[in-house]
C-alpha cells in the first residue's frame, strides 16, 4: 500500500500546484499532488505555452510576408495549419512530461483523479478524496491542504462554446482549419493574443470590447498605441461595444454590435469568447466548510489562508491577477509559511503582466491614472522605440516605453511597454521595483548598446533630466 498520509496535499497540478509541491519537497515536507487532467494545468496545456507556440508561427508568417522590406524575395510562401497546431501541442506535451519528471525527481507522488476535501479526522488531519472514472475513491490525509484548482473560461449566455462556430480558448488553440474571418469578444490578454495570432495568420479579425478601450488594465497610452498598431495591421477594433444576440448561420455566425448608437452586424466563420474567467470552486468539497467564496473565487488572506485552518487557496482559484507567475509565487509563499518560514504577502503592484500580441505589451505596477488616483504626485517618462537604433535595425520601430515615478521619493511606481521584445525586458523594471531602486540607481545603470532595452534607460531619463536620444 502506497503512502496516503502527508504533511501537505495539493489539489491541482498547474503552475500553482506543482510549484507548491516542488517547494514543499525541497523543504522536506511530505507532499502529494492530486491532478484530474494534465500536469502543468491550463498554463502549460491550454494557455500560456501553446499560445506562445502559435504566436511564434504567426510572427514567422508576418516576417515571411514582409520579406521585401529586408531585401528578400520568396515566392509561393504558404503554411500547413495542421502542422502549426500540431507543433503547439507537441510543445505542451513536452513541458507537461517535464513537470511529471520534476515531481518524480523530487519524489512527489501524483494521484491521478479528481480531488476534494472531505472533512477531518479525529486527530485534526484533513481528508482528501481522490476519485477517478466512478471507481471507489481513495482517501488521503494531510495536515495541510492547498487548493490550486485554477479557473476556466467564463461563459456568457448566447456565447456557449459549441465546438463548431463558438470557441473558447480551448477550441481556438486546436482548430481543424484556419477560419477566414473571426470575431473576438473581449480584449484582455487572452482575446488580444488570439486576435493577433489569427490576424497575423491572415484571417479577417474584428476585436470587440465592451469597455472604452482595449486591454483595459493597461495604461491608457499603451491601449491607444496597441489599437493603432492592430488597425495598421488590418484588424478591426470596436470598443465601447454593446453585443446583441448571436445568430448561427450555415457557415458561421452573425453578431449585431452597437457602437455609439450605430449597430453593425458582424459576419464571421468563427467567434472566440474571451470575456474573463471563473474559478473552479465546484466539487472540491467547499460546501459546509468555513471557506468563503466571492464571485467564483475562494476568499483568502494575504498569506493564502482560507476560513478553514490548514486549508489554503492559491493561483487563479484565489482571484486576480490570473497569471501563472502569481500562482507559482503564492505557492512558494504558502508552502514556506507552512514550513514555518517567515514570509511576506505578495504585493500585486510588483507582479508584471505580459501580452504576446504583435507588438508585445508588458507592464508592472501603477498606471499613470492609478498612481494619480492613489494620491501620488508623479513624474512620467516616455521614450518611443522609433528613436531606438536596435528597434530600427530590426525593423520594429513601433512602440513606447513609459515610466511612472513618485515625484516625492523617486520610487518607480510603474512601467508600461509596447513594442518588440518588451515581454523579455519588463523584468528589469520589476527588479528595480522589487529591489526598491529609485530613479538615481536607474539613471546610473549602464544599459548595453545597441539594445531595445536602452529605451528603458531613456524612459527613466525622460522622467527626470530628459532623454538623451529623443
Amino acid at each position: 500500500m502506497s503512502q496516503t498520509d502527508f504533511d501537505v496535499i495539493i489539489i491541482g497540478g498547474g503552475p500553482g500546484g506543482y510549484v507548491a509541491a516542488l517547494r514543499a519537497a525541497q523543504l522536506k515536507l511530505s507532499v502529494a499532488v492530486v491532478e484530474a487532467r494534465h500536469l502543468g494545468g491550463i498554463c502549460l496545456n491550454w494557455g500560456c505555452i501553446p499560445t506562445k507556440a502559435l504566436l511564434r508561427a504567426s510572427e514567422i508568417n508576418h516576417l515571411l510576408h514582409d520579406l521585401p522590406a529586408y531585401g528578400f524575395k520568396a515566392d509561393g510562401v504558404s503554411f500547413d495549419f495542421k502542422k502549426i497546431v500540431a507543433r503547439s501541442r507537441a510543445v505542451s506535451k513536452q513541458l507537461s512530461a517535464g513537470v511529471a519528471h520534476l515531481l518524480k525527481k523530487n519524489k512527489v507522488p501524483v494521484f491521478d483523479g479528481h480531488g476534494q476535501l472531505d472533512g477531518t479526522l479525529a486527530n485534526g488531519r484533513r481528508k482528501v478524496l481522490v476519485s477517478k472514472d466512478g471507481a471507489a475513491p481513495t482517501t488521503l490525509t494531510a495536515q495541510h491542504v492547498i487548493l490550486a484548482t485554477g479557473a476556466r473560461a467564463r461563459v456568457l449566455p448566447g456565447l456557449e462554446p459549441d465546438g463548431q462556430f463558438i470557441w473558447s480558448y480551448k477550441e481556438a488553440l486546436v482548430p481543424e482549419t484556419m477560419p477566414k474571418s473571426l470575431v473576438v469578444i473581449g480584449s484582455g490578454a487572452i482575446g488580444t493574443e488570439f486576435a493577433s495570432f489569427y490576424r497575423n495568420m491572415g484571417a479577417d479579425v474584428t476585436l470587440v470590447e465592451v469597455a472604452e478601450r482595449i486591454l483595459p488594465v493597461e495604461d491608457v497610452e499603451i491601449s491607444q498605441l496597441a489599437r493603432k498598431a492592430f488597425e495598421k495591421q488590418g484588424m478591426r477594433v470596436l470598443t465601447g461595444a454593446k453585443i446583441g444576440t448571436l445568430q448561427k448561420t450555415a457557415t458561421g455566425v452573425s453578431i449585431p454590435v452597437t457602437v455609439n448608437g450605430k449597430t453593425d452586424t458582424l459576419l464571421a466563420e468563427r467567434v472566440i469568447s474571451a470575456v474573463g474567467i471563473v474559478g473552479n470552486v465546484e466539487k472540491i468539497g467547499l460546501e459546509g466548510t468555513k471557506i468563503q467564496i466571492d464571485r467564483t473565487h475562494v476568499v483568502t488572506d494575504a498569506l493564502c489562508r482560507t476560513g478553514e485552518p490548514g486549508v489554503y487557496a492559491i493561483g487563479d482559484l484565489a482571484g486576480a491577477p490570473w497569471l501563472a507567475h502569481k500562482a507559482s509565487h503564492e505557492a512558494v509563499m504558502c508552502v514556506e509559511a507552512i514550513a514555518g518560514r517567515k514570509v511576506h504577502p505578495i504585493d500585486p503592484t510588483k507582479i508584471p503582466g505580459c501580452t504576446y500580441c504583435r507588438p508585445q505589451i508588458a507592464s508592472v505596477g501603477y498606471t499613470e491614472a492609478k498612481a494619480l488616483e492613489a494620491g501620488y504626485k508623479v513624474r512620467v517618462g516616455r521614450f518611443p522605440l522609433l528613436a531606438n537604433g536596435k528597434a530600427l535595425a530590426m525593423g520594429e520601430p513601433d512602440g513606447l516605453i513609459k515610466t511612472v515615478f513618485d515625484a516625492q521619493t523617486g520610487e518607480l511606481l510603474g512601467a508600461h511597454m509596447i513594442g518588440a521584445e518588451v515581454t523579455e525586458m519588463i523584468q528589469g523594471y520589476v527588479i528595480a521595483r522589487t529591489g526598491e531602486l529609485t530613479e538615481a540607481e536607474l539613471v546610473e545603470t549602464i544599459f548595453p548598446h545597441p539594445t531595445i532595452s536602452e529605451s528603458m534607460h531613456e524612459a527613466v531619463l525622460a522622467a527626470y533630466d530628459g532623454a538623451l536620444h529623443f
Binding site: 511576506h344 513624474r379 516625492q408 521619493t409 523617486g410 520610487e411 529591489g435 526598491e436 531602486l437 529609485t438 530613479e439 538615481a440 540607481e441 539613471v443 546610473e444 527626470y464 533630466d465 530628459g466
Partner: protein, 420 residues
C-alpha cells in the same frame, strides 16, 4: 557637470542635521566661498560654503527639514548654462562644499554641552553600525525624517525596505506630547506655544539623560576671595592701556586656571566614566558655561593648566563673544573635561549644577559676598563665595571630591600659584 551637495558631517558624532536656512535661491550664481546654507545640528548651527563657482541649481531638501542624514544630497550645483537635473548622477558626486565656520551656535550649556571626549576615548569604541536599507527606504526616510537606525528591517537578510520605514512613520514612538507627559494635564488658563529650538531640545535631552543616568552627589565649600582679588588688581595694573598686550583679568579667568590646577593636583576628577573603564584625561580642558538668549553653550579653554592668566583671559573673552554671536566652531565647544558654571554676577548665594557628560564633575560658583569670618580667635571681614562641586559618583567618590575642593580653595586663597 552637476554636482550634488551632500549634508556635511560637521562633527565626528553628527549623523543628521536640520536645514535651518537656505541662503541661496535656485538659479543664483555662486562663487567659491559663498555661504549656501545654515545647517543646525544637535550642537550648533553651521554654515556650508561653496568650494566651486557655479549656479545653485536645485534645492533637494527644503528649508526647515529636520533629521537629514549625513551624506544625503541636499542640493545640486551646476555649471553656467548647464541643465539642472533633478538629482546628479552619483558618479559625479563630490562634496561641493566644505563645512566651515560655525554659524550661530546652538547647543548645550552649562550643564549640557556635548563635549567630544578626547580622541582615544569612546568615539573609536563605537563604530557607526552600517545600516542596510534599500535606496527607496533611504529616500523615504530622508523625506519623512525617519532615523533609519531606529527602524527594524524585514526585507531579505534584515534589509530595511519601504514597508518598514512606512510602518515606522505610521506608528510613531510613544513619545508623550509636549506638556502632557504621562497624561498630566497642562495648567489651565491662557498660554502660548513656543516650538523648541534645536538647542532647547538638546538641553532637554542631555540634561534628562544626565540626571537620569548619572548618580549625582554634591559637595560645597566656602572660599575666601580677598587674596585672589588683590592679585587680580596688581596684575591688571601691569596691563598696557591698549593694544595687543592689553588685558583685563576677571575673577572668572582666575577661577578657570585655579580649577585647572586643582585638576592637575587631583587628576582623578579629570575623568570620564565608561562601562568598560575609567578614562583619565591628560589635559584640563575647562568648559565654561555661557548663557545665551535662548539657552547656553560651553566653549572650552583648552589645557588651562598650562596657559597664562593673560592667555586664558583673552581666549575666554573671545570665546564668550563668539559664542553669543553664534560663531563657535564645533571643536571650540566639544571635548571639555570639566565644567565651570559661574552665576556670581547674579548675586546667587549658592547652587548646584548638573554634570555635563561624559565629564565627571562640574563646579557651580556663587557670588562673592563680604561677610564676617572667624579667623583664629578673631572675627574679621572677608569676601566669601560658596562653590558646589556636582560629581558623577561612578567616577569620583566623596573623599576625592572633598580633596579636589580643598585643593581648589587652597589655590584661590593663596593665588600666587596662578602666576607660576
Amino acid at each position: 557637470m552637476a554636482i550634488e551637495i551632500l549634508m556635511p558631517a560637521l562633527s565626528p558624532t553628527m549623523t543628521e542635521g536640520k536645514i535651518a536656512r537656505w541662503l541661496k535661491k535656485e538659479g543664483d550664481t555662486v562663487s567659491n566661498g559663498d555661504v549656501l546654507a545654515e545647517i543646525e545640528t544637535d550642537k550648533a548651527t553651521m554654515e556650508i560654503e561653496a568650494i566651486e563657482d557655479g549656479i545653485f541649481g536645485r534645492i533637494l531638501v527644503p528649508e526647515g527639514t529636520e533629521g537629514v542624514a549625513v551624506n544625503t544630497p541636499i542640493a545640486i550645483m551646476v555649471e553656467e548654462g548647464e541643465a539642472i537635473p533633478a538629482s546628479a548622477a552619483p558618479s559625479s558626486t563630490s562634496a561641493a562644499t566644505a563645512p566651515t565656520q560655525a554659524g550661530a551656535v546652538t547647543p548645550p550649556s552649562v550643564t549640557t554641552n556635548a563635549p567630544v571626549p578626547p580622541a582615544a576615548v569612546s568615539q573609536a569604541v563605537h563604530p557607526v553600525n552600517r545600516i542596510v536599507a534599500s535606496p527607496l527606504a533611504r529616500r523615504i526616510a530622508a523625506v519623512k525624517n525617519v532615523d533609519l537606525s531606529t527602524v527594524k528591517g524585514t526585507g531579505p537578510n534584515g534589509r530595511i525596505v519601504k514597508r518598514d520605514v512606512e510602518s515606522a512613520t505610521t506608528q510613531p514612538a510613544a513619545t508623550p506630547k509636549p506638556g502632557t507627559q504621562a497624561g498630566t494635564p497642562l495648567p489651565t488658563g491662557a498660554s502660548r506655544t513656543v516650538p523648541h529650538s534645536t538647542m532647547r531640545k538638546v538641553i532637554a535631552r542631555r540634561l534628562s539623560e544626565s540626571k537620569a543616568t548619572i548618580p549625582h552627589f554634591y559637595v560645597s565649600m566656602d572660599v575666601e576671595l580677598d587674596a585672589l582679588m588683590a592679585l587680580r588688581s596688581q596684575l591688571n595694573a601691569l596691563s598696557h592701556d591698549e593694544g595687543q598686550d592689553a588685558f583685563k583679568l576677571s575673577v572668572n579667568d582666575m577661577l578657570i586656571k585655579a580649577a585647572a590646577l586643582a585638576l592637575k593636583q587631583v587628576p582623578e576628577v579629570n575623568a570620564s566614566f565608561t562601562e568598560d573603564a575609567m578614562i583619565l584625561h591628560e589635559d584640563a580642558n575647562i568648559s565654561v558655561a555661557v548663557s545665551l538668549d535662548d539657552g547656553l553653550i560651553t566653549p572650552i579653554v583648552r589645557a588651562a593648566d598650562r596657559k597664562s592668566l593673560k592667555q586664558i583671559s583673552q581666549e575666554a573673552k573671545s570665546l564668550v563673544s563668539r559664542a553669543r554671536a553664534g560663531k563657535l566652531k564645533p571643536e571650540e565647544f566639544q571635548g571639555g573635561t570639566f565644567s565651570i558654571s559661574n552665576m556670581g554676577m547674579f548675586g546667587v548665594k549658592e547652587f548646584a549644577a548638573i554634570v555635563n557628560p561624559p565629564q565627571a564633575a562640574i563646579l557651580a560658583i556663587a557670588a562673592g559676598k563680604r561677610q564676617p569670618v572667624v579667623s583664629g580667635d578673631e572675627i574679621k571681614i572677608a569676601t566669601v563665595m560658596t562653590v558646589t562641586l556636582s560629581v558623577d559618583h561612578r567616577a569620583v567618590d566623596g573623599a576625592m571630591a572633598a580633596r579636589w575642593l580643598s585643593a581648589f580653595r587652597n589655590i584661590v586663597q593663596a593665588p600666587l600659584a596662578l602666576v607660576l
